[in-house]
Amino acid sequence: MSIGGIIEIIGMASLFIGSVAVIFGALGLLRLGDVYQRMHGTGIVDTGGAGLILFGLLLLSPDWTVSVRLILIGFILVLTGPTATHAIARAVRAAGEEPENVAPKKSAKRKTSNRRRA
């Protein structure tokens, strides 16, 4: 098999794993407990999901001008993603919502009440 073929397969695998990571992130947004925990779910979309999809596209990109744009997109995502997450976390805390800090069993109970509110 040629090197190009191997790179193409790695790129496609990367795209697939990235898409699965995005699905897991969305699942986490729905399943986890309070707003702080849900933020960790979206962290997967920001990093593993977007990162692997961009990496896959990079390997499959037809010429260097596309690659440059993809790298710049990745750089900007890495800068802005955490900043936005931090802004949300800080705003939530400023609004007076304290994170739940309890044993795993009780957090399952709180989860239902949080879900109702959401």
Binding site: A21, G81, A89, S107
Partner: protein
């Protein structure tokens, strides 16, 4: 002056990479807009050590591979918690940061947030403390370890 030159060079490099049209007139216009944008930024007073932290940007590639590996590892950890939310042990921890510059502190906080499983909720610039929300004991403990702190401090350079 030096900051304006660096900023112009960076902007022009990005313009060259993105434009794809390389004729004399367009090259000149591209340079002029890069210079103009830098001058405006300088006049706004955002081209200081915080707005263009060159000492950090230059050394960033050193930690990139390590950071990607950490991110992939904790992605897996968070997926495990998502599949079984009962594993979550949410908690807040205060992380002591050893960075000397504000840009370094922000980089540290951003790295913590970038790693899934930990989110920096509040940053205290005066006391150099980052308040972190961890998803499980493991993630919170990983943040308290000095490794990330040392690597980010290494980005600030040895001279400071």
């Amino acid at each position: 002056m030096r900051q304006i030159a660096i900023s112009t060079a960076l902007l022009y490099a990005i313009w060259l990479l993105l434009s794809g049209h390389y004729t004399g007139l367009l090259l000149t216009l591209g340079f002029l807009s890069a210079l103009g944008a830098s001058l405006i930024a300088a006049r706004m007073g955002v081209l200081d050590e915080e707005g263009l932290p060159m000492q950090i940007l230059v050394r960033l590639p050193k930690v990139t591979l390590w950071l990607i590996w950490e991110i992939l590892k904790s992605n897996y950890g968070v997926v495990k918690v998502i599949l079984n939310p009962k594993l979550a042990q949410p908690q807040m921890v205060s992380v002591k940061a050893s960075q000397k510059t504000v840009a370094g502190l922000v980089t540290h906080a951003n790295f913590i947030t970038l790693t899934p499983g930990t989110v920096s909720v509040d940053v205290d610039e005066d006391k150099n403390i980052i308040l972190v929300h961890g998803l499980t004991d493991e993630f919170a403990a990983a943040c308290l370890e000095p490794e990330m702190d040392e690597r980010v401090s290494g980005l600030e350079g040895p001279s400071q």
